[in-house]
């Protein structure tokens, strides 16, 4: 199937990854729809040795003296440099889905280990992912699993497991109630005794286990019989995970969340419910495989439909990482600028602090990202990025050189505007906006007319301003 246009390829790379420069998009588009989707999804075949070595050298995560917010920078650095963008995107999806915050983790590096777990199970069977999350030390702390004990169950995890992580209070298609308050209480009992052991091990090494390890304290587990969804047995936590992962309500709920994140928000229309059912079948027919569900969604006609184009609002991570990847930002050869802190504080100002979602329901996507303060943060991130001229500024990290911008600067103002709109989207704008952007290039600093010249001085003075302006367009905020 060689049926992928440049715009299709850019759409796919923005959604399944974080966008990229034209060469990357062209190479992806040349594979055709299924080939391109497969390349992104079957990422195990792509070697990450170079990135792993760079990250290890850059971040002293394994040592004491772990600096403030290093984990934020570590993840951003991965997202910016990874040759497997879908791996990071899917991990980000699960981070938002199983929203856990280090604000309550007894030791914040447990959150880094949770992200490793999400990445490891990102495309496996949903049952396996769910069990790994239920046994994750950060989650056990976050939703009080560690203090859920026989005789005195704690309902926190049992409730959110159903409401937010798997099926929702009501079925996404039928609207029927998915579970009762009694189910919450009984499921809490099934997870009693699940806890964590403190090994005392410090530091962070992705190849070694973390400080806290899952364990079941048999003496605190309620082994009596429980009635869950009308069935009675001596259910364990593992049993509950299997039962929930096999429910059609769970399949429907996951499809809806994946669509909202990757394709477009689904309505309650009959047509959209039919879409949910079709992809819920994929989940049920493929042994709950997230990989096959994701493959079906990303290669679907819905995904490439007009309705899906620019139908989402860029998250702060998508905006920041996407801008850096697309503009071919200079990190310096040793990559040290990847660590510069202010770039990641921009994400905080835009409303997204990784490892610290606002609550267990995750970030509010799409228009939830938008208000006057977060928009100013977006505009100012663009300005700071594009006006950083050298790769070693005193305060700021990544910079964009005149040479990088020269690639997209054409002989005429109009062609230059078209070229940069194409790079940063491709974004389509009305003719008035096109004319205004063109006129900006043909205006001197005093506001008077000045013929456009493709030279270093103009690039430095005007192309930077143009990129800032394009990144301030409402269209640029969409994904």
């Amino acid at each position: 199937m060689a049926d992928l246009t440049y715009a299709d390829g850019a759409h796919l790379l923005r959604r399944a990854g974080f966008g990229g420069p034209p060469a990357e998009i062209e190479s992806l588009a040349s594979l055709g729809r299924q080939g391109a989707v497969d390349r992104l999804i079957d990422y195990e075949q792509i070697d990450t040795g170079k990135m792993d070595r760079a990250l290890k050298a850059l971040l002293p995560l394994g040592r004491q003296g772990f600096l403030a917010d290093y984990e934020q920078r570590w993840w951003f650095a991965r997202m910016i440099t990874t040759p497997r963008p879908f791996e990071e995107k899917m991990t980000l999806f699960w981070h938002n889905h199983f929203a856990t915050s280090e604000s309550k983790a007894s030791f914040y590096m447990t959150m880094l280990y949770q992200i490793l777990t999400l990445r490891q199970y990102a495309l496996g069977r949903f049952d396996d992912l769910l069990l790994a999350v239920a046994q994750d030390p950060a989650m056990l702390t976050w939703l009080d699993g560690i203090s859920n004990v026989a005789g005195r169950p704690n309902e926190n995890f049992a409730r959110e497991l159903q409401e937010l992580f798997t099926m929702g209070t009501i079925d996404a298609v039928t609207g029927e109630t998915n579970y009762s308050e009694q189910d919450v209480k009984e499921i809490a009992r099934a997870f009693t005794g699940w806890g964590i052991a403190d090994t005392g091990r410090l530091g962070f090494n992705p190849k070694k286990p973390g400080r806290y390890q899952f364990l079941i304290r048999d003496e605190l587990h309620d082994s009596g019989s429980k009635t869950i969804y009308g069935r009675t047995a001596n259910f364990s936590g593992e049993d509950v995970v299997g039962i929930i992962a096999a429910r059609r309500s769970t399949a429907r709920f996951l499809v809806k969340k994946l669509f909202t994140f990757y394709v477009y928000p689904l309505s309650d229309s009959a047509e959209d419910k039919a879409t949910v059912e079709r992809f819920a079948d994929v989940y049920m027919d493929n042994d709950h495989s997230i990989r096959e569900l994701a493959r079906a969604i990303l290669s679907s006609d819905e995904f490439f439909s007009d309705r899906a184009r620019f139908a989402l609002v860029k998250s702060p991570a998508e905006l920041i990482v996407g801008s850096l990847r697309t503009l071919g930002v200079d990190y310096r050869d040793d990559g040290a600028l990847l660590l510069q802190r202010p770039m990641y504080y921009a994400s905080l100002a835009m409303g997204m602090t990784l490892f610290q979602p606002p609550d267990v329901s995750g970030w509010k996507l799409n228009i939830g990202w938008i208000n006057t303060a977060t928009l100013l943060a977006r505009y100012n991130f663009a300005n700071t990025l594009i006006t950083n001229r050298t790769p070693s500024p005193p305060e700021y990290g990544p910079a964009v050189s005149n040479d990088a911008l020269k690639l997209y600067t054409k002989a005429t103002a109009q062609d230059t505007v078209a070229s940069l709109l194409n790079l940063l989207g491709p974004i389509s704008v009305d003719s008035d906006t096109m004319d205004r952007l063109t006129k900006y290039l043909e205006t001197d600093s005093g506001g008077g007319p000045s013929p456009f010249v493709n030279d270093d001085a103009t690039i430095d003075r005007k192309i930077r301003g143009l990129v800032h302006q394009i990144m301030c367009l409402p269209q640029f905020q969409l994904n």
């Binding site: 609002v313 609550d359 938008i370 303060a373 100012n380």
Partner: protein, 419 residues
């Protein structure tokens, strides 16, 4: 640059600010710093996660309370602060020992406590119950927020649209048809400005003009592009006004450090003292979901609350605005009377809330729900005695002078905590 400590601190008990101001503010107008004498400011403070009302306003003489709270309960003798000052407010109730500063305000008659506030068939979900409070609709919590509906109706005949605000996410209470967001947080306020290339200051004017024109394009009503472009214009226009307000602010009041709610209250005073039209503000304080090891966290949250409110009212007095502000606090539910096995409490239902300010008639309102076994609901939660919409109605009818029936779609008898 925040340190890690501050980073974590901000997430635990993070507080943010939002406000509604008339769009006329954002047009060119003569700037008047004089606050109108009859100005009526409403500040809404949401405790996110479900505040334990029973350990906030404590029924210390109720045997049922002590039966249900064998380890977390406060005995009469516990109701005093570090210096031994009592926080008892009546022969039945006392405030949490960390609320000394709220007790001082209570003694001055500036604190109303409404007990038993809730609604029928309470939801145990944070999200459903919050939506019910935000929309003022226990039947079907959809549509705009109650404050957003008020803003649309009451402020619509002023110039154009109204402004709604919050940091990071707009609280549902403020969602409206005609309103657009202006938002702040104490941590991002200094960068609330539209920046351009510092190397070419002469180019700024063209850039600002271009930005305005591009974001003034017409987009389909209700589309993401429509919202984003309008918010973009409001961001640009409000930035100068806000900067002016912040620059003009000074105060002799020392706000407590390391207290994110106090930082947020300070922003509120900066805004209301500098922007005469800013009369509807919204704050959030998170981390009240105390399922486990509740005692320390709850103490620290309430102490943060009390210290922040004290500084806020001191600062309002300095700025001559203390008679112009009513602050209403709420949370999506209280916590279950019976403590759990984790030294915490699970999701509850009806609970107590605070309404604070000089215009408030202090005292206890509403009936404390019975905690007797036969009186609790099947989940084990107290049954409500005051519909939360009666609290909204009181604020709308008696403070904002607006017919609450138009906002709430029904009649709810006002309580007497406002005249």
């Amino acid at each position: 640059m925040p340190t890690r400590r501050e980073f974590i601190k901000r997430a635990a008990g993070a507080a943010t600010v939002g406000l509604i101001i008339p769009r006329s503010l954002l047009q060119a107008r003569p700037y008047s710093a004089a606050a109108a004498a009859n100005r009526r400011i409403l500040v809404v403070l949401q405790f996110i996660g479900g505040n334990d009302g029973l350990n906030t306003v404590i029924p210390y003489s109720d045997d049922q309370y002590h039966r249900l709270r064998p380890t977390l309960g406060f005995k009469e003798g516990d109701l005093k602060d570090d210096q031994g000052r009592s926080t008892i407010i009546s022969d039945r109730f006392g405030l949490h020992p960390s609320l000394t500063k709220i007790k001082d305000l209570y003694d001055q008659g500036r604190v109303a406590i409404v007990q038993g506030v809730g609604y029928p068939n309470p939801s145990d979900s944070h999200f459903t119950s919050s939506d019910i409070w935000h929309t003022g609709n226990p039947g079907l919590p959809t549509g705009n927020g109650w404050l957003g509906r008020y803003a649309d109706l009451a402020l619509a005949d002023q110039t154009g649209l109204q402004i709604v605000a919050e940091t990071f996410t707009i609280p549902r209470s403020l969602s409206a048809d005609k309103a657009i967001a202006v938002s702040f947080s104490s941590s991002t306020l200094t960068s609330y400005a539209f920046q351009t290339d510092p190397q070419y200051p002469a180019d700024r004017e063209s850039q600002v003009g271009l930005f305005s024109a591009n974001n003034s394009s017409m987009f389909p009503a209700g589309s993401f592009l429509d919202t984003i472009s309008r918010d973009g214009i409001d961001a640009l226009r409000s930035a100068d006004e806000i900067a002016k307000a912040i620059d003009g602010y000074s105060s002799t009041v020392a706000y407590p450090s390391g207290n994110s709610l106090a930082d947020a209250f300070k922003v509120v005073v900066e805004i209301v003292s500098g922007v005469p039209e800013a009369n509807l503000l919204y704050l959030l304080l998170s981390d009240f979901d105390t399922h486990a090891q509740q005692a320390d966290r709850h103490r620290s949250l309430l102490s943060e609350f009390g210290d922040a409110v004290k500084a806020f009212y001191d600062d309002l007095s300095v700025h001559g605005l203390a008679d112009n502000v009513v602050m209403m606090q709420w949370s999506e539910f209280g916590r279950r009377p019976e403590e759990n096995g984790s030294a915490g409490t699970d999701h509850g239902a009806a609970s107590s809330i605070f309404v604070i300010g000089n215009p408030v008639k202090g005292g206890l309102y509403g009936d404390e729900p019975s905690l007797a076994p036969g009186d609790l609901d099947p989940v084990g939660n107290p049954r409500f005695t005051v519909d939360f919409r009666a609290v909204y109605a009181t604020v709308l009818d008696r403070w904002l002078n607006f017919d609450s029936r138009l906002v709430l779609g029904g009649e709810f008898p006002a309580l007497d905590f406002l005249a």
